[in-house]
Symmetry: C3
Amino acid sequence: MIAVLTDFGVTDNYNGVVVATIKKLNPYANVEFITPQSKNFNVIAAAYQLYTSFKYFPRKTIFTVVVDPGVGTSRKAIIVKTKNYYFVGPDNGVLSWAANHDKIVEIRNFTNSNLYLSHSISNTFHGRDIFAVASAFLSLGLSMEIFGEKLTKIEKIPFQYSKEKNKHLGRVVFIDHFGNVATNIPFSVVNHISRVLIKDNEVKVKQVKSFGYAGRGELLVYENGYGFLEIGLREDSAANVLNVKEGDEICIEEYTQEDFSHFI
Amino acid sequence: MIAVLTDFGVTDNYNGVVVATIKKLNPYANVEFITPQSKNFNVIAAAYQLYTSFKYFPRKTIFTVVVDPGVGTSRKAIIVKTKNYYFVGPDNGVLSWAANHDKIVEIRNFTNSNLYLSHSISNTFHGRDIFAVASAFLSLGLSMEIFGEKLTKIEKIPFQYSKEKNKHLGRVVFIDHFGNVATNIPFSVVNHISRVLIKDNEVKVKQVKSFGYAGRGELLVYENGYGFLEIGLREDSAANVLNVKEGDEICIEEYTQEDFSHFI
Amino acid sequence: MIAVLTDFGVTDNYNGVVVATIKKLNPYANVEFITPQSKNFNVIAAAYQLYTSFKYFPRKTIFTVVVDPGVGTSRKAIIVKTKNYYFVGPDNGVLSWAANHDKIVEIRNFTNSNLYLSHSISNTFHGRDIFAVASAFLSLGLSMEIFGEKLTKIEKIPFQYSKEKNKHLGRVVFIDHFGNVATNIPFSVVNHISRVLIKDNEVKVKQVKSFGYAGRGELLVYENGYGFLEIGLREDSAANVLNVKEGDEICIEEYTQEDFSHFI
C-alpha cells in the first residue's frame, strides 16, 4: 500500500498524475490518500497530519508526502525506512515527527537519477518525477541502497511543547475544516485545567468528553481523536472565534495544590 | 466493496484514517467514496445523498456513513442489514431513507466493545474507532449477532412530502455544488406545473428536459438524475438566486381540470 | 484502468455514483480520478488537464471525461480509440487535444441505447447513464462497433498558439489552485524572454528554474511540469495579482539578434 499526502488539491490534475505514475510502474500498487489537499506550503500542518495518521495504516505502507515549498532547490529528496514503514518526501522536516516516532532504521538520499521519470525531469513536479517513482520502486521491492547514499539524519521541525510547573506551553498545530483547533499538548498529561491562554489572552472554555455534550456557542476543550488537546465549538468554527492559525502559542494552566488547599 | 460517506472533507486526514483502519483489518477491501465531503453536520443532506446513490452500488456493498453531530453521546452506533446491502452509521436518521427503501432485514446495536479499535476509543472519532471497524469486520464475513443486541427500529428523518389536490408540498433536500436545488417531490407524480412557490413566494420557472435547452439566466425546473423535481440555472447557481437552503418549503401547483375547461 | 475527469466536485455524490456504476458492471475495474473537481462547465480547462496528464497513465487506460455543459442536447456521446488509449466523453472538444496528440484510430457515436443504464435514462446525468457505462463495457472487452456507427472526426477546440517573428502569441489555459497561470506556449520554443504582455499590458517577471529560487512577491516565469510556459508567485497566487482567467491572451516577446548587436 502507498499512502499519499499532498497539497496539490482536488481541482488540479497533479494528484491524478502522481497516482498514474505509480500505477504505470506498479499496476498492483494500492494507492490511497491521507489527504489530497493539505494546506498549501504548510509543512507544520502536513507533519501533524502524517504524524497523527501513519500508525493506522498497515505495516510496510509506503508514505509519499509532497508538501514541498522548496521544490527544485538543493533540499534533498529522501527515503526513510522506519521500524514499520517507509517514508518518501522532501527533506524539509515534514517527515520528521512521524518517522522519528516510529524509529528510523535507514535514510537514503535519492540521487540516483537513472531511476527518475525518464521523459521529463521537471524542476517543478518532483511529486511525479521523483517521489511517485521512488514509492513505486519501493513497492516493487527495490532495496534502499539503489536510491542513493546513506544519510545519518533528516531535517526536523521543532515540536515546541514544554511543561513548566503547572503550565503547558504549546502551539496550534492544525485547524481542521470544521474549525477545530488542535494543539501539540498531549491531553493525557493535563490534569485539571484552570485557564487557557492563546497569545496571552484568556479564553473561557468548558471541558467536555465530546461535542454532543455542549450547547451551541460554547468553546470546548477536549481530547481529540489523536490524543491531543483541542478547542472546538459545536457545529461552528472555533478557529474563527479565536482568530488563530497554525504556529500560534497556547498555554494551559492547571490548578495547583494551593488552589485546592482551602477546600481541604 | 465498502462505500464511505462522511462530512470529514478532503483537507483533513480523517477520511484517510478511516480508509487505513479498514484496510489494516481487511487489506482486500475495496473502499470507494460516495462523497468525502458531505455538508458539515447536515443529516438531511447526507440522508438524501445516500438515498439517491445506494442502488447504483453492487449488491452486498457495505455503506459506512459518518455525519454525526451527536458523536460521543448516547446516540447508538447501528448496523443495518437490508435486502441487498449493509448500512453502518450513527442512529440519527441518516440511514433511514436508504435502508427503509431497500427493506430492513435486521438491525444491531454495535455495543460489543471488544471489537472497537484497540489503541484508543476516542470520544470524538467514532468514524475510525467504531464505524470503520464495523465495516471492515462485516466485509470479512462476521455475522450480525457478534456486534450487539437486536433492535426493532431505527431513528427516522421525516420525509415531509405530501400531495393535497393539485398541490405538491415538499422540501429542499439538497443543494449541489453547481447550485442546483433538489427537492423531495418525485417528478413522475407531477403533471402540468402551473406555479412554483418557495417559502410562499412565486418563482418564474421554465420546464425543460435538460440544461442545454435553456438560455443563461432562466430558472429551470426539470427531473434530476435521481427522479426528483429540481430547480437549476444554466451554468449558474439557482440556490443563490432563490436564496434557499436545505429544509426550506417548496410547493408545486398543477393546473386543474378547471384551468383547462374553457379551452374545451 | 479507468481514469475519470469530471466537474462534479467532491461535495456531491455524482462521482461516487459514476464509480459505483462502473464497479457494478465490472467489479475488477480499477477506477482512479485525474480530478474529481475540474472547473464547472470549463471545457478548455478540462481539455488541458486531460492533455497534460493522459500519457502518465498505463497503456490501454480508458479515460472517462464528463465536463458537459450541453448534456441532454444533441451533442454526441463519443468513444475514441487512439494509438495507446480509449477516450469516452461528450463530443464538445474536451477530448480533442489529448486524443489527437495520441493519434486517433477509430471514433464511435455511442447511440446503442440497449447498452445505456437500464433503470433510468436521465436527461441530466449522462456521466452515469452513458459515459460510466461505456467505460465499464470497454474495460470488459466489448468491441468498438457495438456502441454505434463510425464517425470520421470529433469536435475540436482551437489551440490558438502561434509564433510571429520574435513573438509567441498564446492563451492562458489553466489556473491551478495555487494560482499559477499555465499558458499554451511550449517552453522549449522560447529562447530569451524580453517582455511578457498579458492583455497588452507588460508584466515584470523573473525567469527561474523553480519556485525555490525566488523571493516572495516576485512574479516568476518558468517551465511547468507539463512543458508549458507558466507564471507563478512563490507561496502566493499569480492569477490574483495578474487578474487573469482561462482564455485570456498572452504574448511573449524574445530578444532579437538586433537587441544583442551592440554588445558584439
